[in-house]
Symmetry: C3
Subunit: 665 residues, 3 copies
């Protein structure tokens, strides 16, 4: 398997390169990513190209058996280019130019930037499309990062109108879909249509601007599509000149790009994983990282790369805490457990200048191997020993959570309760599964559902007929579906449905929503099959219409009303969860639903902070067990296994050191 | 009496209109407001008018006996208009255009917008000025809402200079009044005068900008006057063509427009009442709503309409909690108690598109009558049964609180203590009255004072000679006046007085302020006729100069100094309250002052959360009792009554259900 | 000694001036500062000068024996000037003009403003350069205040490029120093170089923008140098026409100007001291004020003036609490203790208009002497009685803290831990000294070190060879040096050093930093010579390389590793403190280090809230003891003294009233 580091030879004297290659090889590294920010080195002035340094670096690395992934350098247009064409810059909603000095200072819809992108990408593709040491391509770098998902420049204004023409065909359709009759916003001409610029309504935290929700959702879609198109422009060019597979480094839970669409044009997905960076100073919950891995696997329903794996303390102006001994290894195994088939650490050696001086790599600024280097070296050796069961393996999953970017955006525009966040709701269901030792896939609504015993579809508020039919078909054939409050309430254009809630899912769920109560930060009581618990965020007051009642409210004016129901539909069942739940109640509810559906658990008992993932290669199963605790634990395996890493025999009791891992067969 | 809903036929298919009218009639509705955002429907392109749909809607409603209030649609200029004349838009203090996409995207001082306003308003006025089904006019909608009270565009710059010429006559006067000698800000030419744009001094929460306080107060006044003028332009036009009375829908405690001035040009006042919207997610204190009603009544010293009464959960991106059973009725009775003579619920049916998709009406998106419809229906029936004592009645009030927008603005510019807010101080006195079962009026300083036993005039810091004379006259004739810290400290131009504090009120109060201490978030002890209490926000250290001492400080370096005094002046008394007080102490102080002045209480004992208002129609008194608690209460009425709603006899003990109401005679 | 007030005769009628002068004289005032904001009075229209009023004021004051300091009025360019040349205004990073209406609305690099500065300054200098009543000059007013330290206008853009040419000589040097190869930021032309404008990376609190750290540090330096140059332009002009000494009023801990550089061109330093203003509503720690005084003394290593000493409650829109009886006197004595040789109170009489209406002076708006006037009067009398030991005295100090603005700026750009602030770290060491009754100097790295027994050099991360040599020389000769975490980690151009930490100080400290852990808001345990304590902010994990271990970590994965070390180097010692410490532990550590180095304590025992400063005049020592507590205290003097203020004999026990002071000999 590929195991490597992100490497910037251009930041260091050539004299050091051979030493770097030697140290990499000793650390069991066999791949590096190169050049993704090096436009100014490759084309120092317009039309003057210099590939010599990159040729030489690839050559030196190649001699040690280290292959290269080449990044196209379009995340960093050089100063000579943006000075010549200042309309390449993005603008914000106030009209401010978002200028030079960091990175990603370009608009996806700039025609002139498209032109220069083609020039540099074809030059590079031609040069390295046939190089035996170059084994893959990365397009650009982290689309959308640093708030570059959306732009308000004149080029975007024009492109948005074209995108809308394509979508709606006529202004009549657009005016109807958006409901522009509200507040006299009717458009008489395509050229009248705006981007959601600054308005009088803008509130102090800049979240709400009073814009039409239909326009806002289309602006989200348009912006995401602009990224997809820009990536495709590069993908097509590279395919013309090169045969290596193509990827882009995604960003896990990042909300502004529809990764399912972005992934379609790629050969494989990779992503950048920082469990403890400047924004997660004290570390994120391991389950958040796990879900990000599962989403990344779900984008193309196959194994992926981690193209940037945290390898030291990191941050821009401030750093998060230093990874403790064992954590780099643990994070690597976690990635592998969830489907990573290659690990690339960011970065080889910490840069001594620029905005990422504090983003530490495997080596410190002084280039001397220390603890982290040793851990990377050891982990690499271990992984190579079991690489045959990693590459080409799959996660054994009988459940799926449906993630929809259209729904995510709709909820971001109008979250309907201060306590609501779509990603957080999905995460609470994900946690409920992992807390029950149940593997899951995170998939698009376009994905085949038949292989799953239970499908979770939380807060899927935008619906259209083909989706309803697909879901009905799935349940009719014996599937189990879990819906929640806010499901089926809107049309795909983000207007509200005018049938009774849960709108498109009313028949499936066998209920009607009689009233609702947006709890915001309040809570109410609930009681039922999960025992006594707490309803949070939102309460739908349900009128069963064929469905059975699993839980009722225990407080509020709607005390005694149905809160959670189950409906038999064809051979399957439809659960409707009318409120948010405290995590413990949700865990119990999921345990009950999964038990009913005979979903298998990876291990029979749960140990707090321990994750277990069941995988399979060529029909042979194995289990990866990960201890995320800073203390040793004993895990009840419910049977006898062999640990592939140590060769030790496990008789029901698996001892794991702090941050320890096992691979059980 | 009029009882109705805000209705938007243009949002729904014509086929539904008759059904809506029928359902309205069944709900005892007899009036709707129409068309206040419908410019683009009435004039889809410049000069092309279409009134047919509105004619038809009025006609269909009229057939069910439902009358119409027509709103002029100037809150929403269509896109064709602002594209043709972009200088219609407001600008912010940085020069950013505040663009299209929500509503109120126009400047009150735009000459071209004045022109187009005249065209559309006269067209509408001519058409419906003689329609028997049209019984009133609403000008525009919620002037100032969504931060549209102040604008920094070039038209405002020019208009401000003209306004100042009018006010000051000469630059010498202006420079003297503002004290521009400070920091070399002397103006040599009218064209040099600025709006309070962005300066180097702007602090991070954008509250302070280092501008001259005189200029700032005049900018507030100018901005408010601009709204008043813009409204008058419409009022005059409508009066030319129509005979129905004219109103505008105000916004209760909204601080940026002088409602006393705005109300002068109207035939009657109406306002929009949302006790639990997105900004008051967990509900506002019922006393805040009560005071807003009293202020709205005070604007023209007569009964008013509620033009938008909350009828469901509401919010833009997030919603507040759903009104509980009984609350719609309770809020309606509260409005009536404080002087509302007509109730119009917002809105008839929840809109399925646009920025207010989550602003629920009487009917949900699906148009099916449910609990809230039933409550509106029941309440309407009850009210019609007692409408003769509602319409033309008056609140029996022996006390008044003086509210001054000039003072409000002066205090917003320089609140002098982080704990100080003018409206909050007034509210604490209002609460002190309501907590003692005492009715009050909220009035302008121009209002006749003689009818009141006690007048509260908190933090009236801007003074001029005629005001001082008026107040002295009132007290001399036997009135009781309550002043507080910060009173009389400034001239009307917002400069500081250079006589000893309390400046203009020194003679009246019979004290001098020796020192003061701005407590901000700290507090000090106080002791006196209210027992032991807490001084908050501010402490004036008083030197009695004829006045008697009612309380002294109990801590701080000024321990033992006078804090609250009373002075006999002519036949009356002047109380000076030198500090902020905890609510309990303030309640006791007010009890004492009111007792001394023989002010009547509506009920003899106070029940927490229960409000009692004494009213009178044709000399016959009645008492409305409102239970704002979510639990039943027993209220001690101190006598025997009949409940007009139930016909029941009340012998000293009135039982009220949760959110229950009674009308006692 | 000079004792006075800031006086604005132009704000008051001429008829009052003589009365003011009389009252001043009675208050023992003998100096006023005049005219620093009076440009529009001195030159009401371009080229029309009017000095008559100022002549007259100086004359009236002079007759009472009151001398004048004249301020050049360049902090407030008149409207006629900025209207004629709008490019005088500053701009912000978004390109917004920072307009008229407050003060300091000019850019230091505006060529046209330089021209007009020369005209007005030479006019004034010529007129008052020979006036016997004018005894000093103040340049402008509070450079940098109200966020005017940095500007983004086109003139600054051009000036920055020139400044960089001067600094780097060639673009190659600049590109190398900044590391522009990172993210393709290489500059091919001087005209390509930007100011750190708004980028896509700007975070929500506007602290981080993704800019190159080398560019950012140079922008800080350039901005500071621009102020220094602008001041020098005025200093040179005044020296041409006048013989009086020249000062500028600095602002204590203000971080954006290198005060050591700014002070070089001045004859003496003065500063503005507000212990309790609007931003320090409940009062700042007296030790923060003490350190500011010591820094101000350190700027020129000699006595200074307080040019604005708080004399009442103050604030712009809100006020801080009122100084309690005794505090004005206490603050004055504290200033004198730390080196002030003249005190000027701000302001004489509270202004009745303009943005500082709430910035109270000695007299209130009404001009009547009250408590504060009395306290000023009494204090003045006392001080004149001992003025011979104040003027020309020095603080006896055996320790120094090195403050570096370059390091401050580097840390502001990248504080590396959310818990870190350079000034706060220095303050913690300062508090450790004052808590041990040890005097200290606060000095620049350019200062002579030989006179100090211990030098503290916290977080000195930027280093260059001459600094390292100087420090090594100091220690070699017997000095004691205290270094901390982050020391020696960067080059002077703000890039990271690529040798092992602590980089330039590795040899001196006798350790290597094996790893580090950025704690942010977390903490870990530590144990050693200070007992058991808490490590905060940051932990360096040290590998002694000759040094002895004074403390080790008591928790974390690095438990047991060295945290604090001491290394013998030549005749001296180098302490390395690898972590932040709770104040109590730091106090003990400093006690131990100072004890080891035989540093003298001013008093033998510490009384909480009591400050003791040892001074010397003509070889004769005296001690000033200041009680900052609101309660009386008894201080153990450890010997017998005479109190110069009362003449009383002190036998080991000194009784001090609340806010009381003593001068012991």
């Amino acid at each position: 398997m590929y195991y490597g580091a992100d490497y910037y030879p251009e930041h260091w004297p050539k004299e050091r390169w051979a030493e770097d290659a030697r140290l990499m090889k000793e650390a069991n590294i066999n791949v590096v990513r190169l050049a993704e920010f090096a436009w100014a080195k490759l084309e120092p002035a317009e039309g003057h190209y210099d590939f010599s340094w990159l040729d030489e670096a690839i050559d030196i690395l190649g001699k040690e058996g280290i292959k290269a992934v080449i990044g196209t350098p379009t995340a960093t247009p050089p100063k000579w280019l943006v000075d010549k064409y200042p309309d390449i810059y993005m603008k914000d909603r106030y009209g401010h130019v978002r200028g030079f000095g960091s990175r990603r200072h370009y608009c996806y819809n700039s025609p002139v930037y498209h032109e220069y992108t083609k020039r540099i990408v074809s030059k590079i593709a031609k040069r390295y499309g046939v190089n035996e040491n170059v084994i893959a391509w990365q397009i650009d770098n982290e689309f959308g990062c640093q708030d570059t998902g959306q732009c308000y420049c004149e080029n975007c204004q024009l492109a948005f109108r074209e995108w809308l023409k394509e979508r709606y065909g006529s202004l009549e359709n657009l005016n109807r879909a958006w409901g522009t009759v509200f507040w006299s916003q009717t458009y008489n001409d395509w050229d009248e249509i705006i981007l959601p610029y600054y308005t009088v309504c803008e509130d102090s935290d800049h979240r709400f601007h009073g814009h039409n929700p239909g326009l806002l959702l289309d602006f989200y879609r348009f912006s995401s599509d602009s990224v997809v198109s820009y990536q495709k422009l590069q993908v097509d060019l590279i395919r013309e000149f090169a045969s290596q597979p193509i990827t882009h480094n995604l960003m896990g839970h990042f909300p502004e790009i529809d990764y399912f669409k972005l992934g379609k044009d790629l050969d494989f997905v990779s992503w950048d994983n920082y469990p403890r960076n400047q924004w997660r100073i004290d570390g994120s919950d391991f389950r958040e990282v796990a879900m990000a891995h599962d989403l990344m696997r779900g984008v193309k329903d196959k194994g992926f790369w981690v193209m940037e794996q945290q390898s030291g303390p990191c941050g821009w102006s401030v750093m998060g805490r230093t990874p403790k001994p064992g954590q780099l290894r643990l994070w690597t195994y976690q990635a592998v457990a969830h489907g990573a088939e290659a690990i690339v650490y960011f970065r080889w050696r910490t840069c001594a200048f620029g905005a990422e001086e504090y983003w530490y790599g495997i080596l410190d600024h002084d280039g001397i191997p220390r603890r982290r280097y040793g851990e990377v070296q050891k982990t690499g050796k271990e992984l190579q020993a079991i690489s045959d069961i990693i590459v080409g393996s799959r996660v054994v999953s009988e459940t799926a959570i449906i993630k929809s970017y259209d729904n995510l955006w709709s909820h971001r525009i109008q979250p309907h309760s201060t306590g609501f966040d779509y990603n957080t709701l999905l995460m609470s269901y994900y946690k409920g599964l992992i807390n029950n030792n149940i593997n899951t896939d995170v998939i698009s609504i376009d994905h085949d559902l038949d292989r799953y015993k239970v499908v979770f579809m939380p807060a899927f508020n935008l619906v259209k007929e083909d989706i309803i039919e697909k879901i009905e078909e799935y349940v009719k054939n014996g599937g189990n579906l879990v819906l929640t409050f806010r499901s089926g309430s809107r049309n795909w254009d983000n207007s509200m449905r005018t049938d009774t809630l849960p709108g498109g899912f009313r028949k499936l769920a066998g209920i009607e929503v009689e009233e609702f109560d947006s709890l915001n930060q309040d809570c109410e009581g609930i009681t039922g099959i999960m025992g006594d618990g707490t309803a949070i965020t939102w309460c739908d007051i349900l009128k069963p219409n064929g469905a059975g009642v699993l839980a009722v409210y225990a407080s509020g004016y709607y005390r005694g009303s149905a809160a959670i129901t189950v409906n038999t539909f064809g051979k399957g069942k439809v659960y409707y969860v009318g409120c948010g739940l405290d995590q413990k109640s949700l865990d119990k509810l999921i345990e009950s639903i999964a038990g009913e559906a005979e979903v298998g658990q990876v291990l029979p008992w749960k140990t707090e902070g321990v994750e277990a993932v069941k995988k399979e290669k060529d029909g042979k199963p194995y289990i990866m067990v990960l201890n995320h605790n800073p203390v040793p634990v004993i895990v009840d395996t419910g049977g006898n296994y062999t640990d592939l890493l140590t060769g030790g025999k496990i008789n029901n009791k698996l001892e794991l050191e702090p941050y320890g891992v096992s691979v059980l067969v």
